[in-house]
Amino acid sequence: MKILVVEDEKGLAESITDYLSREGFVCEVANTFWQADEKISLYQYDCTIVDLTLPDGNGFDIIQTLKKIAAATGIIIISARNTLEDKLKGLEIGSDDYMTKPFHLSELNARVKSLIRRRNFGGNNDMTWKDIRVNLPARKVFIKDIETTLSKKEYDLLLYFLSNIDVALTKESIAEHLWGDNMDSADSLDMVYSHIKNLRRKIVEKGGKDYIQSIYGIGYKFTAP
């Protein structure tokens, strides 16, 4: 899986590529508009992460070119601009997702994976990890092949974990993943705790192991014990 990161802030681009590389993606970076333009005309990427504000051009133009050359490439916009018009325009010209800076790398990772899943298999696939199997189109979860009923939030939480196996997820990133950034963070952090508790209980009840590991002060990690 090849990913192109178009981002002029070198440190941020490095963090993104580091993070995604750990997940097994092959990442390339373009720091300028022209670099990005050259790369997309030379190579094929499964996913492109584009910053809209570049020193020598506009991210929108890259997306338009990309759509012309390789319509199958997934596109995620990352931008500090958070106006509705920008979001609508981005989605209108063919991007698949829009994330407002600052974002959580784990959230970006989850979205990249979900996007690639949608692109490659039309969403018609199962996601399997250890003894957990998720049927995505039906939104059904099986633990050791026993169907387990999860609430919508628990399901979203499980998917988020499954997209970030062995990765420490902060409470904030989980809260924002589940409720968006409009929510009051102090209250939603408590709610994260109760949802985690429920999810953990449901997995263990069905005979699964306790995969959710708490990391003191930071959050949680989904990992094989």
Binding site: E9, G11, I16, T83, K101, P102, A186, D187, G217
Partner: protein, 419 residues
């Protein structure tokens, strides 16, 4: 009242007054001339009469004419020797109508005994003349009045047309767009000057709007990018594992501060954007329904905090406003009602044809309710609170011509949005 109508009315009233005065003066002058003429003829007849009496020393009172009549009546006792003109009515022998006469009364001696003599002259013809002249005059003045009035209207309409055209363009002018304002040029210097001034102001407005918009966009980008970097680096650091308890504490602090700053920055930028009226799209929205839907988004947190929800709707509050702003407005109101609630409390959403009210149970305010909507006015407790939520609500209300009011009846705090 329109300028043209006002001018026309004043003009009409002034003309009517002037014309009435002119008409009256004219009538009076003609009346005076006619009386003067009749009276001098009567004086001549008086001389004729006296000459006749002097030469004959007698008067045969037998002749009667409609036009002229001399009446001689003997007077007994003392009499004042005076000469007087009077108006009188004498009945017409044939028509049984009373005809106006001017009468000259004087006293004289005929054959040594005193007599009062009244010489009369018919005014029928004169009155007819006055009538004819008056009617003609009223007709002409009326015609003049109407024609000048119409002329004035048409002329003013033409003269003021560029003004009204420019006014229409100014009304249509939208400073968020890039099109410059163009007023209508005309031969009238004042209108052109006004147009120049308006055009200058408009382009200044557009310029300010653009630069502020650019500023907010750039500031947003320049601040959010480093924040994103801090976040990303901290997240990477977290992944590195084998962190001591001290380290996780510090990292959490840094991470938390960065998130908080980012939210603060977004809040302030949002305020600047609302103030700068950058939310231009408008739709007719049903705020009651939107609030109800919004409440559903908060179901989790309401459940978690064990807050009871009471919804009472007596109508839908429809309002033409930006959907993005409406969303922010309701989110902040509900968020506020949840944040300052206590576990087991209540949240009420009431709406009617012209209001939406969100009320919540909560502890009494420690500070002045007047300052509730000010920026960075934090009421409580959580350091999490940025103190921008209600300031944003207020700013949105100001921008969308909504009124906001706060009331507290222990233990219910109510914030009401009305038209």
């Amino acid at each position: 009242m329109k300028l043209l109508e006002k001018a026309s009315r004043i003009y009409l009233m002034a003309s009517l007054l002037i014309y009435a005065a002119v008409g009256f003066a004219f009538y009076w002058i003609i009346n005076f001339m006619i009386y003067d003429e009749v009276e001098s003829r009567l004086m001549v007849e008086k001389q004729d009469f006296e000459a006749y009496v002097r030469s004959n020393d007698t008067w045969s009172n037998n002749s009667y004419f409609v036009e002229n009549k001399i009446e001689v009546v003997p007077v007994y006792g003392k009499f004042k020797n005076e000469v007087a003109f009077t108006d009188t009515l004498i009945s017409n022998r044939y028509d049984e109508t009373a005809d106006p006469f001017r009468q000259l009364t004087f006293y004289t001696l005929i054959g040594g005994s005193p007599y009062r003599v009244a010489i009369r002259k018919s005014m029928i013809e004169s009155y007819k003349l006055i009538e004819a002249i008056s009617v003609a005059m009223i007709a002409f003045l009326g015609l003049l009045l109407v024609s000048t009035f119409l002329f004035h209207r048409v002329l003013s309409g033409k003269l003021w047309k560029p003004f009204y055209d420019s006014l229409a363009r100014i009304k249509d002018f939208d400073w968020t767009k890039n099109e410059p304002l163009e007023t209508v040029r005309s031969e009238i210097t004042e209108f052109n000057e006004l147009g120049d001034v308006m055009e200058k102001m408009a382009s200044k407005m557009q310029h300010d709007y653009r630069s502020l918009r650019e500023f907010t966009e750039n500031a947003s980008h320049e601040i959010q990018t480093p924040l994103a970097l801090i976040n990303a680096r901290v997240e990477q650091f977290i992944q590195s594992g084998d962190l001591g308890e001290n380290h996780t504490y510090w990292i959490e602090e840094i991470y938390h501060a960065a998130r908080r700053m980012s939210r603060l920055n977004q809040g302030l930028l949002l305020l600047a954007k609302i103030e700068n009226q950058q939310f231009t799209e408008q739709e007719e929205l049903d705020l009651s329904e939107l609030a109800l839907n919004k409440l559903k988004d908060f179901e989790d947190i309401l459940q978690h905090k064990e807050i009871r929800v009471v919804v009472r709707s007596t109508g839908s509050f429809r309002k033409l406003m930006s959907p993005a702003l409406a969303d922010i407005l309701l989110t902040n109101l509900i968020n506020n009602a949840i944040r300052h609630n206590y576990p087991g409390g209540e949240l009420r959403l009431e709406s009617g044809a012209d209001y939406v009210q969100v009320s919540n149970t909560g502890h009494a305010l420690k500070s002045d309710p007047e300052r509730l909507f000010e920026r960075f006015k934090k009421e409580s407790t959580g350091a999490e609170s940025l103190g921008l939520g209600l300031a944003i609500v207020k700013q949105i209300c100001e921008n969308c011509d909504l009124r906001i009011s706060y009331q507290y009846h222990e233990p219910i705090h109510a914030i009401r949005i009305t038209e």
